[in-house]
Symmetry: C2
Subunit: 368 residues, 2 copies
């Protein structure tokens, strides 16, 4: 038998994947989930105008590799020159390209212990060394992250603000102040996937030309287009242009480009959805309290609920919910893994969650 | 000013892109193309069932990272176990993942001089050394490619069959016989993007478990879904599984998965489109002849026309056509660049091409 000549790095990479999808869980359960509240999607869906734009798109044509129309619209919407904007196949793809541009064997990267696993996946995938800093009081430890970046001479430091999986946040001025302590030549990867869910005062004021920061945003959350795979990066032109050296130029789905553009132009819909997301979060918080549990404050489209025990207990609660057809997820790492994470949903979704939670807690208590 | 700490490789990669999209040309011309015949898309579009499936897709949900339903349907359609099939964001993305798995600095790769540039882009992008073999009589030189692979101890050798940009092909048995001369531990990347356009006897019989071959196929050509970005790789399970180490797991557009599945299930539509593609190609061949030009035989969805001069002359013809609103492309490298490449089109598309070609030739003759 012939041996495959994988690269040394590829040969040693694990085959584990960052997340198992809900569809795989449904196949394994033999049932569709009754309520899909685990992936921080928007059950409220995208603007009807986006749906129409996607349906009317010329599917037979490749997408514009420059995503010119969408970048122009983002430029206008954000008041940022489009030379500072790169559109990609979701934040996941953009994170991959960014890591590829900066990180190889011997390069150091910093993130929080238990933060977004797909970023870690990319760092490992390009041979970088990842250093983690524990959360502090369920918040990413900004001071600790930047101090670690100094210590290990990190090329990249990752921060999600608002945070996933905890839903917590740092104020804009806190991030702005912390930036001054970022070591020279280190780039802050500021993941703002949830920024449209957040109230004012959370997105820091950062000059898009600032060499210290790449921001990442997405149409997957409040805009309700997770299935379309549209994200964008904002940063200094030299980095933005460098994406062109490695990205999949014809990788953007054409109808997704059109859908994101239409979604961006329908800010009234976004505002309306934002209210629904908040109402759903309030309901989740109330359900948690009724069950004697603490819900963490959240600036995202989900609520993280402290189940009041350890990771084993929370996992047991999660498994009970899943067995009852409620798809939810939980943090991977202690002590955050004492929690479960519930995406905002419709009244019907949350009725199911409210009905299932007491039994799930009861069963978990009996089992533990 | 802060210097960016790109990887050594990223710092040295060129910023040139494999292809400029037609939309960028339209922006530069200030006009939309009247006829879009340059990117080997299918102007006939996808099955109406695919369009419906995409429109009815839940855009708010992430796609299934395993593309289970599509892989299962491909498995049934092809009579191949789905463990041999990987779905990705078009062949371009799959080629990128494959190169990443196998190629790094010091690794050698073989392709034809003037073959698909995006493959070359990936090889350069991961630091590999590319060796090229000239075409022979407008065909990829199978014997020469495999001999070069022996000589340089290549990890990968790329072959498009049918070929792009020439449209020519090798018979199945020729490829099968040549495989026996492929050096040990070298993988043939068999790009079959155009295989649905080809008549029988071109796709070689290859056991999907055969360690020597990865085949790449797509829904972008005959299936009319270029904008959706759905390709798939067929090969030995160990290589297929290895994609999971590096790919963008949640990179697939959900509606694209549904559209490709519906398109695959509508083979009657595919058959009908295939007839239209052939009729369009016959018309292009006839137009070429009426203008005193030779059209190359083609097993793809396009016809390559020998303009009867050198690359400068063909480029001049191409520019004249583009100025008249007809989007076409041409091979990049001599001697293939004496040709222009016209995708099959509707009667209206080809009426415009027929009307424009005589003037384009005349103007090119005057200019050269």
């Amino acid at each position: 038998m012939t041996d495959f000549r994988f690269t040394q790095l590829a040969a040693t990479l694990p085959s584990t994947v960052p997340f198992v999808g809900p569809e795989a869980q449904e196949r394994s359960l033999g049932n569709a989930f009754a309520s899909r509240l685990g992936a921080n999607e928007s059950v409220f869906g995208p603007s009807p105008k986006a749906i129409t734009a996607m349906a009317e798109s010329d599917h037979w044509k490749y997408g514009d590799p420059e995503s010119f129309d969408l970048r122009s619209a983002l430029s206008t919407h954000l008041g940022i020159d489009s030379s500072h904007i790169m559109v990609g196949e979701g934040i996941d793809a953009l994170l991959g390209y960014l890591v590829r541009l900066f990180v190889g064997a011997g390069d150091h990267v910093v993130t929080s212990l238990g933060a977004y696993p797909t970023f870690n996946y990319h760092v490992a995938g390009f041979g970088g060394t990842l250093h983690t800093v524990p959360y502090f009081d369920d918040h990413e430890n900004l001071e600790g992250l930047f101090a670690k970046a100094v210590e290990v001479k990190a090329k990249l430091v990752y921060l999600a603000n608002p945070d996933n999986p905890m839903g917590t946040w740092h104020k804009a001025e806190t991030v702005e102040a912390a930036l001054e302590t970022l070591p020279n030549n280190c780039i802050l990867v500021l993941d703002e996937a949830y920024i449209e869910c957040a109230s004012g005062g959370i997105a820091p004021q950062i000059d898009p030309a600032d060499h210290r920061v790449i921001r990442m945003r997405t149409f997957s959350k409040s805009y309700g287009l997770a299935g379309a795979r549209v994200g964008y990066a904002i940063g200094p032109t030299k980095v933005i242009n460098s994406f062109n050296k490695v990205r999949n130029h014809f990788g953007m789905n054409r109808s997704a480009q059109a859908g994101a553009l239409a979604a961006l132009e329908d800010q009234a819909y976004l505002l309306n959805v934002t209210k629904k997301i908040i109402a759903g979060k309030d309901r989740i918080t109330s359900i948690a309290r009724k069950n004697g549990l603490k819900a963490l404050p959240s600036a995202t489209n989900f609520v993280t609920i402290d189940c009041g025990g350890d990771g084993v207990f929370a996992k047991s609660v999660l498994e009970q919910l899943i067995a009852q057809g409620i798809f939810v997820r939980m943090p991977f790492v202690a002590p955050q893994n004492r929690c479960i994470r519930i995406s905002s949903g419709t009244t019907a979704d949350l009725d199911l969650f409210a009905a299932a939670l007491p039994g799930a807690l009861e069963a978990a208590k009996s089992a533990n």
